[in-house]
Amino acid sequence: MLMNLFAEIDVSKLFGLALRTSISVQAATFALAAVGLNLHYGYTGLLNFGVVAFMAAGAYGMAIFFTQGWLGGSILLAIASGVVFAVVIALSIGLPSLRLRADYLALTTIAIAEVLRISFRSQRLLDFTGGPFGLPSIEDRNANVSFADVITVDWNPIKEGNYGAWFLEFDEKTLWVMIIGWSLVSLASLLIWGLMRSPWGRVIKAIREDEDAARALGKNVFSYKLQSLIIGGVIASFAGIVRAFDMGFVETQQFRPQTTFFIWTVLILGGAASIWGPIIGSMTFWFVIIFSEELLRQMVDSGWIPDAILQSNDIASVRMILMGIMLATLMIWRPQGLVGKKEEAQIDIR
């Protein structure tokens, strides 16, 4: 019986697809957003449930600036405006709400992220954000014109063609965005590594451990928290921007609250308050997700799992179920994740 099962399973495809996704742009953007969240939650102890707001701010800030053609429509200025938008969001979340209790901050951030998403979707902003259709407009998308072209075509140093082999074969556009994405992940991780060795990082960690003690030592806790929120938010906004370049468009469906919790799972899986946590977390997360999805798909297709239990068009939801289970069980049994330190990952915020 068991031999029979192995005969039905395409092992090469199983590992190939899983590996492909674990180094893809998607994994890079999740790692990048998790680096930002790591600064918020892992190091500063801020319960930010609105990660996706920063990604949306980056992506939409860039896309709106570029498609409106402001200041000549330069892509670099567009990226800069995405980052500025993320800073504005960080300030408008942080200034009023950083004094709140941890769970109130969580509710406020998730609500602000939704407010941003619903506003982008609104008919009243149709001219700027494209409403529910997103950017670029439908006509441009049908003509294959996108803000991503400057990056992936005009500025692409890689010659046209396919690179790599097996399931790890990428065309020049994907490869280029992958390189950009993972370089940004490395840069951001280096930045966090450096910051955490500096006096600034020590204050940040002291705030996480005991806010009142840090305040008693004369540190302006509020200002440090705000700085942490801004830096982490800017890192997360780059995740949104890179993803927009990969997909070639932005739309509000990409920024639903569930993305926030994907990133939380990535961070907790890898290990909060560790430099390698977000990177290892994201790669492992996508490997596990795609591996189990593909395994289930092959088992369903070959009739090993009867239709009554699972049908092939339900497999996409399995991803969300796995995410839920991972988030809950990790929190219970291994809050420090794969590479985190246990004493740093205990959250005890009030």
Binding site: I110, A111, Q258, T265, G324, L327, A328, T329, M331, P335
Partner: protein, 288 residues
């Protein structure tokens, strides 16, 4: 206006459980909205598959409410009770409840399907006039049931021993324990009651709108808005907050686009959290 009242009552019904559970345990339960969806889906299953339609439909509602109570019992007995005794912080438990919410939501999607459905027995109903207002007959029942239930919950909390111990535990667990109240038993009853109310709310919401797997996701922030507006942890606050939020978001369509009505609830919630995090009826936390 009447539809605002109706939605308000239903949101209140769905929110009480969240507020009660927060009151006695300090847990912000993100899976609460899935308990709402659970009730609606169970009632729908009982109606369409088991055949409790027409005159038997009230039985389906009762069974769905019982199933909701059972779900609350299971969650407290199986997950949150043991974890609380392991001294897990409420923040960690909140993250656990988020994971649980996704698990439940997508299990509902797989086994219930992606298609929104309505209760067969109540698909089309002609309006019944009562004075100046004309509503489908089911709406009178919905408003009546919701109102009576809220009243009964209020009486339960104020007049019965169980209600008194619920309020005592939510006020100060240690003091309640030392006064001879069985805290764990009270928490268990709060879970059962809250979850059953969520199921009832879900069934009623399913009656007025549709039953679909996303209804939990859609109502989650509405419930949170209601609970924070009224004051986290106070059952009466949840009622007042639910009424206000439901009413505000329904009537806002007079002067706002339909796709923005959700924004009202969110904006109210953000402002309340920032300005008066204890809500309208909440009491300022005593420090020290």
């Amino acid at each position: 206006m009447v539809s605002g009242l109706k939605v308000g009552l239903l949101v209140a019904l769905a929110s009480i459980g969240l507020s009660l559970i927060f009151g006695v345990t300090g847990l912000v339960n993100f899976a609460h909205s899935e308990m709402v969806a659970f009730g609606a889906v169970i009632a729908l299953l009982l109606e369409s598959t088991v055949g409790l339609n027409g005159a038997l439909f009230p039985l389906a509602v009762v069974l769905a409410v019982l199933a909701g109570g059972g779900l609350g019992f299971g969650l407290e007995r199986g997950i949150f009770g043991p974890l609380r005794r392991r001294k897990m912080t409420n923040i960690s438990l909140m993250v656990v409840s988020i994971g649980l919410a996704f698990l439940m939501r997508y299990l509902i999607l797989i086994y219930h399907g992606a298609e929104p459905e309505t209760f067969e027995s109540f698909r089309i109903q002609s309006g019944v006039s009562l004075g100046p207002i004309e509503l489908p007959a089911k709406d009178y029942f919905i408003i009546g049931i919701a109102f009576t239930t809220l009243l009964m919950v209020g009486l339960l909390l104020q007049r019965t021993k169980l209600g008194t111990s619920m309020r005592a535990v939510s006020d100060n667990p240690a003091l309640a324990e030392s006064s001879g109240i069985d805290v764990n038993r009270t928490i268990m009853w709060v879970w059962i009651l809250g979850s059953a109310l969520a199921s009832l709310g879900g069934t009623m919401i399913g009656l007025t709108q549709v039953v679909e797997w996303q209804m939990g996701e859609k109502i989650l922030l509405l419930i949170f808005a209601a609970v924070t507006l009224g004051g986290l942890g106070t059952a009466f606050g949840a009622m007042v907050g639910g009424l206000a939020i439901g009413f505000a978001s329904e009537t806002s369509t007079f002067w706002l686009d339909n796709d923005l009505k959700f924004l009202i609830a969110l904006a109210v919630m953000i402002v309340i959290l920032l300005v008066r995090p204890r809500g309208i009826l909440g009491v300022r936390e005593r420090l020290g």
